[in-house]
């Protein structure tokens, strides 16, 4: 893989964010419909069909592709809105759909054989056998890898499968086996896998207590932030709990993934798609992050090192990590 072939795959939760991503230099923008067919089914977010038609026209006029995430798992016996989402994405001339459910992969491959399919991170496919299966059975062209692999593991995988690899390069981290995590269901009854939303805002409360702010999810206290301490969204996996008499982040800290400096390594490992997380974030975030990664990819294409760009002010918790790519905790 060379730097010439890599694509910046950028998030957009609204038409304004799509324009911000395209204008900042995205190669692809990924979006979702305004319903539970995608894993960012947040209030006030996502695209109606007419908005997506306009967004695709805007992107295509500027040489940018649009990918539609239809990456939740259809309810048993009621797959209609998921099928409709695939049909509408094809009708509106989306460049690919991002799918996770085996049944939906089969429906898309059979009904729209010319529609390009990407395997969502929600499918949690991280072995050559799993990815090869999706390719052979449904002609999947690209797999988005879970955020649990090291760079050498990604390189080994890329060399062993006939599809493109896409990895997350910036944004919120999910350290669980994606598509199989039940923490949100436990606390709220709703999950990213079935309802398209992890730790839904309807179950989130922030309570100001003097200088402190307490974050709650479904009535559970998830964290207490002291005066001036950066706050975070109350997902169970990023909660600060007391265990064995010690207060700590048991699973992971509220920290953002940032791999700007690692992009050359990831290209060398055979990665095609650099995915920026954050369809739920605003257009200011989208514009700033896409611009930074555009500069980095362009610098690498010129044979230069990626520039050191400060993205601290838009990260969760004001902290950054290279996550599993380095596994510095080992």
């Amino acid at each position: 893989m060379t730097a010439e072939n890599v694509e910046l795959v950028c998030p957009a939760g609204t038409p304004a964010a799509l324009k911000a991503a395209v204008d900042a230099g995205a190669d692809c923008v990924y979006v979702g419909f305004r319903d539970e067919t995608n894993a960012r089914n947040f209030p006030g977010l996502n695209f109606s069909r007419p908005e997506l038609a306009d967004g695709i026209a805007y992107a295509h006029e500027r040489g940018t592709k649009v990918l539609v995430a239809i990456n939740t798992f259809p309810r048993a016996g009621k797959p209609e809105i998921w099928h409709q989402a695939v049909d509408d994405a094809a009708r509106l001339k989306a460049d690919a759909v991002i799918v996770a459910d085996v049944g939906l992969c089969a429906y898309a491959a059979k009904t729209h054989p010319d529609l390009r399919l990407h395997l969502s991170v929600q499918a949690s496919a991280s072995s050559p056998e799993a990815i090869r299966f999706y390719h052979q059975a449904f002609n999947i062209q690209r797999a988005v890898l879970p955020r649990v692999l090291t760079v050498p593991e990604i390189a080994a995988l890329a060399a062993d499968v006939p599809v493109e690899m896409e990895v997350f390069v910036f944004g919120g981290l999910c350290v669980m086996a994606e598509g199989r995590c039940a923490l949100s269901s436990y606390a709220t009854g709703l999950s990213p896998n079935m309802n398209g939303v992890c730790s839904p805002a309807s179950h989130v409360r922030y309570v100001e207590r003097g200088e402190k702010v307490v974050s709650e999810l479904g009535g559970f206290t998830i964290n207490t932030f002291g005066a001036g301490e950066p706050a975070g969204y109350p997902t169970l996996c990023k909660g600060r709990f007391e265990a064995n008499g010690k207060l700590s982040y048991l699973f992971e800290e509220p920290t953002s993934l940032n791999t700007l400096a690692m992009l050359p390594e990831l290209i060398k490992a055979g990665v095609t798609g650099f995915k920026i997380e954050g369809r739920q974030r605003g257009r200011a975030y989208v514009g700033a992050v896409v611009k930074a990664f555009r500069q980095a990819v362009d610098a690498i294409r010129r044979g230069e090192a990626p520039p050191d760009i400060d993205l601290d002010n838009i990260t969760e918790g004001g902290r950054q990590t290279a996550g599993a790519y380095e596994r510095s905790w080992r």
């Binding site: 939760g13 609204t14 038409p15 304004a16 964010a17 324009k19 911000a20 947040f42 209030p43 006030g44 977010l45 908005e51 839904p200 805002a201 309807s202 989130v204 409360r205 922030y206 309570v207 100001e208 702010v213 932030f225 001036g228 301490e229 950066p230 706050a231 975070g232 969204y233 509220p254 739920q280 974030r281 605003g282 257009r283 200011a284 975030y285 700033a288 002010n313 838009i314 990260t315 969760e316 918790g317 004001g318 510095s328 905790w329």
Partner: protein, 227 residues
């Protein structure tokens, strides 16, 4: 004249020392009802130019969102009913049964409405406070951010031949605001500069210690692993 807000409990966001704060002090004697026509006009322009906002809020017709520009002596109450939305000015929230509250400096609220800053980042850094129904606040944030609002363009588009003088006035006003902000920041630094330097030094030291501690923990884990 006594500020009616003085009797309220302390607010979780301190107003920044800015020209808006001075304007707020000057506005304190003005009854909120005299400001209402301005906010009626803002809502009318937003409805006409960005109908998608109310469409995205259609699931929350009965919500009442309290918006508190912490550096001004009044608050706003938004009721986003699709057919009959209202944006009303109040002295405080004492007579308002709001389902959610958003508090922050006026300049930040404007920047958020125009998508110039990221709402999550503002909240994570504790410069913005939200309370109550998080879902309606998030829906409002997404609806406004997604509309691509530009307040100057929006008002200019409704004023026809008056648009050019308005833009000129806004440009001059913006420059004056920036100059005044810079001067006030200088005054603030001269008053609390020493304390700020001490805090910066402490923050730097804490950061060094955190790095050192992480390194020690890693070493210990590696030793345990090898053992």
């Amino acid at each position: 004249m006594q500020n009616p807000r003085a009797a309220q409990p302390s607010r979780p966001v301190d107003p920044p020392f800015s020209p808006v704060l001075l304007a707020g002090i000057a506005l304190a004697p003005v009854p909120p009802r005299l400001l209402q026509p301005l906010f009626d006009a803002i809502l009318s322009v937003v409805r006409r130019r960005h109908p998608g906002i109310l469409e995205r809020l259609a699931d929350y017709p009965d919500s009442v969102v309290g918006i508190d520009p912490v550096d001004l002596p009044f608050v706003l109450v938004l009721e986003p009913h699709p057919q009959m939305p209202t944006l009303t000015v109040h002295r405080d929230f004492s007579d308002v049964a709001a389902t959610a509250f958003i508090r922050g400096p006026l300049e930040m609220l404007f920047a958020l409405s125009e998508g110039r800053i990221d709402g999550d980042a503002a909240f994570f850094s504790r410069q913005l406070v939200i309370e109550g129904d998080t879902e309606v606040v998030l829906a409002l944030r997404n609806a406004i951010d997604g509309a691509g609002i530009n307040l100057e363009d929006d008002f200019a588009a409704t004023l026809g031949p008056l648009a050019r003088p308005l833009r000129h006035f806004a440009s001059v006003g913006g420059r004056l605001f920036n100059l005044l902000s810079r001067d006030m920041d200088m005054v603030r630094r001269s008053l609390i500069g020493t304390a700020l330097r001490g805090t910066d030094a402490q923050s730097s030291r804490i950061s060094e210690l955190e790095t050192e501690l992480a390194s020690i923990r890693r070493t210990l884990r590696n030793r345990e692993h090898r053992a």
